[in-house]
């Protein structure tokens, strides 16, 4: 089976102009492969560069060097780092999902509509989209009387579930998850894990960044470890060590 995503030599160096051009290394020389139907976990202490890797793939960050070769649904391989902005917008709408650590929504839009948005953008009829959204909200344990409320008022854990729901509702081919279970209790964690495994079974390639090693081992097929090197000089180099987890 071909790789869905092949990351080669991914490097991100930030230049902080407000501090006189100081350079900060986000990640350096990251390489890995990800197949369809595979879950790859990225485990590292806070600040080691997990989010940076995901954001470089999603193009929220412009990588300094390297490639992120993605096999799109039309059979072409596209380097996400070099792709045009319009291609990225189109891929994000249709095929690539990203769950950030924070929920940002237009205030006053109901939870059920926030979750349904991606389907509506892709041309789904409103009533059908809301139906799918409702079933997903139910699965994730969001109380029914909150569906019409704006998620801005929800608890942290509920917001996180809304965040995940709206990214996975259209079953993306490539899913990037940044600390998906950070604020969740055990039952909610289990639900999210089940959701991830369900997507995996239907062929999605999933990348999860998390410092929750235990939970990561429950869902991942492989885990990538990132390390600091030479921390005293504030120069970080991330080394890949792939470990096959039980599954």
């Amino acid at each position: 089976m071909a790789d869905m995503l092949k990351v080669l030599g991914l490097t991100k160096i930030f230049t902080l102009h407000l501090l006189g051009g100081k350079k900060v290394v986000g990640c350096k020389g990251i390489s890995f492969c990800l197949r369809a139907g595979e879950v790859l976990g990225i485990s590292a202490p806070s600040g080691a560069g997990k989010s940076t890797i995901l954001k470089c793939i999603y193009r929220t960050y412009i990588a300094t060097a390297g490639q992120a070769l993605y096999l799109s649904s039309d059979g072409n391989i596209i380097d996400l780092i070099q792709a045009s902005e319009n291609d990225i917008i189109s891929l994000r709408q249709r095929e690539i999902g990203y769950v950030s650590q924070f929920l940002r929504v237009v205030p006053r839009v109901s939870a059920i509509n926030v979750v349904a948005e991606k389907l509506l953008i892709n041309g789904w009829e409103e009533s059908k989209a809301l139906k799918v959204s409702a079933s997903l909200l139910e699965y994730l344990g969001i109380p029914k009387d909150l569906w019409e409320a704006s998620p801005v008022t929800f608890s942290g854990g509920q917001q996180q579930r809304i965040n995940i729901a709206r990214a996975v509702i259209n079953r993306p081919r490539l899913l990037l998850l940044d600390e998906p279970t950070a604020s969740l209790d055990d039952q909610a964690k289990q639900r999210i894990n089940d959701l991830i495994l369900d997507l995996k079974r239907s062929g999605s390639a999933i990348l999860i960044a998390s410092h929750d090693r235990e939970n990561l081992e429950l869902v991942s097929d492989r885990i990538l470890f990132l390390n600091y090197v030479d921390e005293a000089n504030l120069r970080r180099e991330s080394i890949n060590v792939c470990k096959v987890a039980h599954n």
Binding site: L18, R59, T60, S72, D74, A83, I89, S90, V106
Partner: protein, 280 residues
């Protein structure tokens, strides 16, 4: 991948108020940190602005006062004559002619049929002596609809779409709240189903709760009607929520352009980094 032609192609758009001279461009802008030409005293409101806008896309233009963003949009809507540059609009003659060089009549045709504009100042966007319905009718009549029944039913439809009470159709917007006036402007802008809508500071000056409602309305309309939009704002929160791509402007020049989340989270240019770091 996608090889579609852009809806709008803007090339080197320049707008200078004053006599202009050969040194205008070089003596103003980012390095000079001024819009005023030191040789001839002209104001270079914007210069060498180039970008593409694709179908169904929402492009944000962000910048502080004096950045040239409003002038840019006014040039596109023909409120202000551009001094130089070319604009190709695929909805007019398949983008083969520079719309800045058209006759007044041809420009009027584009303004009425193919573009809609929502102004920051209600006095620019609405005639406060006409009723809400009358304002919309003005746009419909300009495009050639003369049947009163059709005008009224279309105005009612638009007001309903923009969540203005249809019962207010015969009231003067002079007495409406800020948010309602904005929504009447939006209804007016959409009157003739234009493919491109320009919005200048559409939420500025509104209460926070009203802002939220207007933002939600714009998102919904854009999705339902598959509009292409240019959203001018100095509010980065609005830019983040509404736009796919963003252009940052300063002293009349384009500083940086890219995906909105990239501009906000990984700004490359020193000015953009400064701007983004100031978000409350």
């Amino acid at each position: 991948m996608l090889k579609e032609k852009p809806l709008l192609k803007v090339r080197e758009l320049t707008c200078i108020f004053g006599i202009g001279c050969s040194k205008c461009n070089s003596s103003t802008g980012l390095l000079a940190e001024t819009n005023i030409c030191s040789y001839c005293g002209s104001i270079v409101a914007c210069a060498d602005v180039s970008f593409d806008l694709y179908d169904g896309e929402i492009l944000g233009i962000v910048g502080e006062s004096g950045s040239g963003k409003t002038t840019l949009v006014k040039c596109l809507y023909f409120d202000t004559p551009a001094s130089a540059g070319e604009v190709y609009f695929r909805a007019y003659k398949d983008g083969k002619v520079n719309i800045l060089a058209l006759t007044a009549q041809e420009k009027r045709h584009i303004r009425h049929h193919l573009m809609g504009m929502v102004y920051q100042d209600h006095h620019d966007g609405l005639n406060l002596d006409f009723t809400a319905g009358g304002n919309i009718a003005e746009k419909l009549i300009a495009a050639g609809t003369y049947h009163v029944g059709q005008i009224r039913s279309r105005a009612a439809e638009l007001l309903q779409r923009t969540e203005v009470l249809v019962a207010c159709m015969d009231d003067l917007p002079r007495f409406f709240s800020g948010g309602m006036k904005r929504r009447v402007q939006i209804a007016k802008a959409l009157a003739n189903n234009p493919p491109l809508v320009l919005l200048d500071e559409v939420t500025t000056g509104l209460d926070v709760s009203v802002q939220a409602r207007v933002l939600d309305l714009i998102k919904k309309l854009q999705r339902e009607l598959r509009l292409s939009m240019i959203v001018v704002s100095h509010d980065l929160g609005v830019i983040r929520l509404l736009t796919n791509r963003t252009m940052v402007m300063k002293t009349g020049r384009v500083v940086e352009m890219g995906l909105t989340d990239q501009i906000l989270e990984d700004p490359q240019h020193p000015y953009t980094q400064l701007l983004v770091s100031a978000i409350l």
